[in-house]
Amino acid sequence: MAKGKDLHTDLGLKEEDLLGMYRYMLLARYCDERQWALNRMGKAPFVVPVSGHEAAQVGSAWAFEKGKDVFCPYYRDMALVLVAGFTPKDIFLGLFGKKDDPSSGGRQMPAHWGSKERNIITGSSPIATQVLHAAGIAYSKKYKKADAVVGTWFGEGGTSEGDWHGAMNFAGIHKLPMVFFCENNQYAISVHESKQVAGSVHGRAQGYGFPGHLGDGNDILESYRLAKEAVDRARAGEGPSLIELRTYRHYSHTSDDDDRTYRSKEEVEEWKQKDPIPRFETYLRSVDLIDDAKIEAMREETKAEVTEGAKAAEEAEFPDPGTAADHVYGDLEVV
C-alpha cells in the first residue's frame, strides 16, 4: 500500500507500527472519555486527562524497546503507559483504587503509574522527582553495561524544580543513556508558560552540554522522529538529549480544576482544531493505510476494549483494610 517516499518509511516505521500507534492513540482517547463519564456519574473521584497529548506520548514511547528500556513517566502519561504495557482494565483499576491496580494496589491516586514488570518506574505526586530517578537508573545501566535507554517525561512546569536541573546536570556530566521529554502544554494548572519558563525549555540543553530540540507534539511522526534520533544517540553511548514537544491539553488540569478562569474558550477551541488524532488519520489516509471503514472498525474495537476494561475494573475488589499496614518495610511490622 505505502508509497516509496513516504515519511514513515524514511523513519523506519512499518505499516503495523503506524496502525499500532494509531490504535494506542484511540485507546488513550477512549479511556479518557470514559474516565470523565465515570467522574460525572460520581464513580471516579479523580481524573487526570490525557486528551491532546496522545501524539507526543505515543510517538515518543514508540522509539523505545519494550522489555529493555525504562520509562519514568509523569501522571499525564496514560497513552505512554498503554504503549508500555498497561491495558485499559489496568488504567481503570487504578482509577477506582482497586486491589489489583498494578501501580499501587489502590494506595495512590489514579495516574500514579508504576509496574516493575513493564519497566515503568513507580511515580509519586511531587513534581519532577522521577527525572532524577531516571538519571540514577541511566547511571546504573551504564555502570552495568546494559543495553538500555531510559526515557523520562514531564510537563514544562516540571522543569522548574531543582530535580530537573540536577538531572540535566548529572546526565550531561556522565553522558548518560537517557532522553528527557518535555510535554509542553503551555500551562501548569493555570500558570502560563511565560510565568513558568524564562527563556525556553529546549534552549536550556545546550547549557548542559547536550542537544535540545523543539518539536510539534501534536504531530506523531515528528514526535517519533525526534525521540528515535535521541534514543539511538543514547543507545550508541553518545549521551542524553532533551526533546520539547509542544502540545495542549483539551480539558482542565484534572477533575478538581476548572480551566475557564485561565484559558479562553477561543484558545481551547483553536487547539482542539489541532487534535493529533484526526491529524494522524489524515496522514494514514494519505498513504492509503486507512479509510472510513477501517477507522470505524478500529474505533469500535478500541472503544469496546475500553468499555470492557472499565466494567471489569468497576466490578473488581477494593483492597482489604487488613493490608493497609503492609509493606512499609520489607522486614518490619508496623502498627
Binding site: Q108, G162, T323, V334
Partner: protein, 332 residues
Amino acid sequence: MAETATTNKNLVSTIHDTLAEEMRNDDRIVVLGEDVGARGGVFRVTMGFLDEFGEDRVIDTPLDENLIAGVAIGMAMDGLLPVAEMQFADFIFPGFNQIVQEAARIRYRSNNDFNCPVLFRTPYGGGVHGALYHSQSIEALFAHVPGLKVVAPSTPEDAKGMLITAIQDEDPVLFLEHKKCYRLIKGDVPDERYNIEFGKAKVRREGSDVTVVSYGLMHHFCVEAADRLSKDGIEAEVIDLRSIYPLDMGTILESVGKTNKVMIVYEDNKFLGVGAEVAAQIAENALFELDGPIVRIGGPHVPAMPFAPTLEHWFLPDVDRLEQEMRKLAEY
C-alpha cells in the same frame, strides 16, 4: 464580644476575606505561590486577588517550592510581608532547606540584625481522598525547628485572629489550614479586626473526667465524641491547641490537674508527632497528678493515607473510635 457584629462563614472564606482585608490595609503584603493568580489558588483562598491587587502583589510563581520560600525570604529581608502559599503541605519539602536553614535562623544567626517575617500558609491533613501526597500532616517536622512558629487554627474565628497575628509577626510562621475543615467548619466570625495571640490553647469544652488535647480536624471529632459521652454522664474537657509552637502547656497542665487523665489526639503519624512532646511535658511536670496512663491516638506508622476508600477509612480516627477511647480512659 457579645455586642460585636459577626458573620457566619466557613474556614476557607474566612481566610480569603481576612487576607484580602489585610492586603487592602498594607501594601507591603504580597502573596506568591503556584496558581494564586488567575486561578485564585486551588482552594480559592486568593480568588479575585489578581484583579483587585494586580500581578505585582499576586505572584504566580514557577513550580518550585524552594524558589517560593527563597524569594519570599529575600522579600521579607527587604521589608515586604510576603504570604507564601505552598499548594499542598505535602509539597513544602522541596523548600525545606530554605525554611529551616534560612528563614528560621536569620534573626538568630545575624544576632538580631536581620529578621524574616515570611508567612507560609498551606493546606494540610487528610480525609479528602488525597492519598499519600495530598493528605499529610507536617506540623511536627517544623515545630521541632527553633526559630519557626507553627499554628493550626481549627475554627473560622480563630483563623481570622491568628492570620492577622501571623501576617504581623516579625518572624517566620507556618500557618496550617486543614483541608477537610475548609468547607466543613463554619462559625460566627466577628466583623471587626482582632488578634489572637499565639501560644494560647483554647478550652472549647469544659469537663472534669478526662482532658482531651488535639487540634485541626481531630479537635472537631473530639468535641463531637465528648458531646456524645456527655449523655452517659462522662464529661471530657476538650482543648484545642491552636498553636503548636509556642505550645501552651499551662492550659494543659491546669486541666490535667483537674481531670487527672489525659488523651492526646492527632492525625499525623504517632511516632514523634506533636502528641509525643505534649505527653513528654506532662510526664516531666505532672506525673503524679495522673490517675491513668497518658493515651496518645495518632496516625499509624504508614506513609499517610492510602487512596482506596477502604484503606483511607482505616487510617483516619473517626468519632466512634475517639468516643470509645475516651470512655475507656474515663473509666480507667
